[in-house]
């Protein structure tokens, strides 16, 4: 026998269920008066630095039907590539940008919209720059463990080509599953939970 490592186990995940809105976006589902506003619903103010962008995200099940009861959170760096977090040791991030947002998918269309800014580039572990990206975390009824992935940008071809995480994807035809397409007024991103176009999800 050796000494015990004296570690605890992480609490097991359980699905957020169909009523996740009650807890995380109560105003959205008609429970007013408890919180002033839903947390994470506004990301940008008039002082925030950076290019304003809109993200339009859908999450599609194995029959390509959009989920109408999902909830998405995003986490991103500011316009200079700094995170507004105590673990960010490279400098102070834009005080007018928390970098975190939360939105439910629309109950009719399944579209989830974020109004944010385009993030700057953040270094990888070895100092190389990663391409601009936004971390996504998706929960819903039927999802037992929250899904982690990233959204990259179609108009960042050069940066995407040298991104160390995208470079790790063995099956190159799956790389586009992480790239949002720039349209006239928004970046459009479909997350596929299953099938040929299944999004690359992370374990990190």
């Amino acid at each position: 026998m050796a000494q015990s490592l004296d570690r605890l186990k992480e609490s097991p995940s359980q699905t957020a269920g169909p009523y996740v809105h009650i807890g995380l976006t109560p105003n959205f589902c008609g429970i007013g008066g408890v919180y002033q506003s839903d947390l994470g619903s506004t990301m940008v103010n008039s002082e925030t630095k950076g290019e304003r962008i809109e993200l339009r995200i859908r999450v599609l099940d194995g029959t390509d039907t959009p989920l109408k009861d999902a909830l998405i959170e995003i986490w991103q760096a500011d316009a200079d590539g700094l995170y507004n977090s105590p673990a960010e040791l490279r400098g102070a991030a834009d005080p007018n940008f928390q970098g975190w947002g939360r939105q439910p998918t629309d109950m009719e269309t399944g579209v989830c919209r974020f109004h944010t800014i385009k993030p700057g580039r953040v270094p990888f572990r070895d100092g190389r720059l990663m391409a601009p990206h936004i971390t996504l975390w998706i929960v819903a009824r039927g999802i037992n463990v929250g899904l982690h992935t990233r959204l990259y940008f179609s108009d960042e071809e050069k940066a995407n080509a040298e991104d160390p995480i995208l470079a790790r994807i063995e099956h190159r035809l799956r790389v586009p599953t992480l790239i949002a397409e720039r349209q006239v007024d928004a970046y459009v991103f479909d997350v596929h939970l299953q099938g040929e176009k299944e999004t690359v999800f992370f374990d990190s």
Binding site: R7, L8, K9, E10, S11, P12, S13, Q14, T15, A16, P18, Y19, V20, I22, G23, L24, C29, G30, I31, G33, V34, Y35, Q36, L39, G62, T63, W75, A77, Y83, N84, S85, P86, A87, E88, W100, V122, R125, D126, G127, M130, H133, T135, W137, A140, G142, I143, N144, V145, G146, L147, I165, R168, L193, Q194, E198, V200, F201, F202, D203, S204
Partner: protein
């Protein structure tokens, strides 16, 4: 950026890997909703980058006075929610056993009759006009938290022909890094429905299920007022950076 009001140096080590055998699998066919919503391809594994190591901070200033009191935070003045009054308390720890201060917890639940205040819930149990069903708290220096609510009722749900959810409270938890993000559910000691539930059954390890069952805590009850349940939550631990901060190329 230093944590507001704190002299602690922020930790920046990578998080322990998730034990995917301990968590429920993505595909758990007895829970039918998972069948078409479960990724089937292998996950892409990599050690945390800054994007996973960092995470948002939520300050105590954002909390309202009744945020951790579900008995009153939706009730009309002078009234309160109907049901068995309980206090739920515990600590948020990481896998090293260290308390996690400043963790935002959000919780939601059905009312005492097992009915949610949500347009998608058509269960015939009545809504309680004084119960909304959501609350939140931020952990103190030792990782401790507490809130007051009514014990939620069990309820039937459309899955198998006769499936019932055990009484439960949903928890959403932020730690210090976005990689620690977790949503789970708390169950109640002694509830026979726990071991019959297809959602709980997605967890294959009995000890893992037991880690989600809050124990009755008689020492923390308030006599003639409320029972108490203790529920600790464990987030991913993290490595020391002592041997990791080497210059490039070494």
């Amino acid at each position: 950026m230093a944590e507001p009001g704190s002299n602690r140096a922020p930790e920046t080590g990578a998080f322990f890997q998730r034990d995917r055998q301990w968590h429920p699998a993505a595909f758990t066919p007895n829970y039918k909703s998972s069948v078409l919503r479960s990724p089937q391809k292998a996950l892409l594994s990599f050690d945390n980058t800054l994007s996973e190591l960092t995470g948002p901070v939520f300050g105590h200033a954002m909390l309202g006075e009744l945020d951790n009191d579900l008995i009153h935070n939706f009730a009309k003045a002078g009234e309160s929610a109907i049901g068995e009054r309980i206090i739920v308390h515990g600590r948020v720890l990481d896998e090293r056993g260290k308390g996690v201060p400043g963790a935002l917890l959000e919780f939601w639940q059905a009312n005492a009759g097992g009915r949610y205040r949500h347009k998608k819930d058509g269960y015939l149990a009545p809504l309680d006009p004084n119960f909304g069903g959501c609350g939140r708290a931020i952990t103190g220096e030792d990782g401790g938290y507490a809130f007051r609510t009514v014990r939620p009722g069990p309820y039937p749900w459309p899955n198998g022909p006769n499936d019932w959810r055990p009484a439960h409270i949903h928890f959403s938890v932020f730690g210090h890094g976005f990689a620690q993000r977790l949503i789970t559910q708390m169950y109640f000691e002694g509830d026979p429905l726990i071991w019959r539930c297809p959602i709980v059954g997605g967890i294959s390890n009995k000890a893992a299920v037991e880690a989600l069952i809050a124990g009755l805590d008689m020492q923390s009850t308030i006599p003639m007022d409320a029972l108490a349940y203790k529920f600790d939550i464990v987030l991913r631990g993290r490595r020391s950076t002592l041997f990791e901060n080497r210059p490039e190329g070494n």
